[in-house]
Amino acid sequence: MVKKKNWLAKNWLILLTGLIVGAAAVILSKLGNPGNMGFCIACFERDIAGALGLQRAANPAGEPILSYFRPEIVGIIFGSLIMAVGAKEFKGKGGSSPVIRFILGAVVMIGALVFLGCPLRMVIRIGGGDLNAVVGLAGFIVGILVGVVFLKCGFNLGRAHEQKKAEAGAFPAGLLLMFILCTVGVIGVVTTAGLEGAPGGARAPWYASIIAGLVVGAICQRSRFCMAGGIRDAVMFRDFGLIAGFGMVIVTVLVGNLILGNFKGFAMEGNPIAHTDGLWNFLGMVVVGWGSALLGGCPLRQLVLTGEGNSDSAITVCGMIVGAAFSHNFKMASNGMGTGENGHLGVYIGLGILVVVSLLFTFCKKKEN
C-alpha cells in the first residue's frame, strides 16, 4: 500500500518543540534570567559548577558571580525522565568509552564558554539580534561537518550495553539531592540575587525555572530535538525536520522579544553577555560542533539522554560541569569584554584533543582475536 506523507504532519512535533523552547527562553529572561540566556545549557552547568564550589569566579569584592544551582538543568533531566518512563523508553544503557565522553564533554564546554553559550543559546542569541552568534553558527556548522567526515570514515566510540535501572537513575537522583541541598542552603555557594555584573545573580523564580525545564525536557524527549543532530541530518540525509526546530526557536525568540519590546535590532555590539571577537566566536563553536558530532548530540540532547537512563550521557554532563570549572579556574572562559587570558590556548588544546580522539577512534581498529 502506498500512502502520501506530508512534511508538516511528520515534523509538527519538532516545530512545536522549537516554539516551546523559544517561548520558555523569552519568558525566563523576562522573569529574571540573563538577557538572551533564558536557556543555556553551558552557562547553567557553569553556574552549577560554581554552586558546588568547583569554580570560584568572583568580582573584585570577592563575591561569587557565577554560582547558582540552576533549576532548569534539573527540570530538563527530570522532564525527560518522567516522559521516558511514561513511554517505556527509560532504559539503563552505557559503557561506550565513558572516559573519552567525559573528556569530550569537558572540551565541548571549554569551546562553549569561549563563545559564551551552548548551541541552544547560540540560536536564542540570533533571535535576540546578536550577529556574533551568526559567526558562532558558522563555526558550529563547520565543526559538525568535520565530525561527520570522521563518522563517515568509521569513527566509533564502541557500543553501549544494557545496564541496571539503578545505574541509569543514579545521576539524576544525585543531581536532585544536590539541588535540594543547595536550594535550601545546606550546602553550596550562591551568588547574591540581583548582584550587578553577576550572571549567576540574574535568575527567574526557581519554580518557574523548574517548570520550564520540565516542559522542555519532556517535549525534547518526545521529539529528539538536537542542535547537532539537525545539522547532521540536513547534511547527511537532506532531512530538514530537526533543523526546522532550530529555525522555529529563532523565529519564536525574535517574535517574543519584539512583543516584549526587548529587540533592539541586529547588531554586533552591545549584546548581553557576548563579545565581538569573531575568530574566537567561530573557533569556540567549531570545538562545540565537532565534539557534539562525535558525542552524538549537543549539550541539551546529553541532558535529555541522561533522563532516558543513558549513563554515557550522564558522564558527558559530568565532563561538561568539570570543563566549566576548568574554564573559569584556568581563565579560559570569555566575558562580555572579550576572550579569557587563556581562552585561545583552551581552544587550541580542545582542537588538539578532538584531532587525536577522531583519528584514534576512526583509524585504530580493535585487534581481532
Binding site: 506523507k5 570514515c153 557500543r159 529528539r224 540525509f237
Partner: protein
Amino acid sequence: MLKQAEKRLVITFHTTAGAMAMEKLCKKNAIPGRLVPVPRELTSDCGIAWSMAPADRAHLEPLLTGDSDISGVYELML
C-alpha cells in the same frame, strides 16, 4: 509538499560505524538503499539506520557476518 510513502526494510545498529559499514557493504554488492535518521517510532535514540527495499533482504542476508552490529530489523512505511 507531499512525498510518496512506501514500505521499507529499516535496519538499526548499535553504533554509527555499524550503519556506515552497512552502506559500504551494500554499495559493494550493488544492493540499493540509503542511510536515514532512525525513525522516531523505533527508538528514542538519534542514531543512523539503513533503509532498503524489503525485496532485497534475500540478497543481503547471505552477506551478513556475526559482527555486523545490527540491533534490529523492521518493516516500516517511510
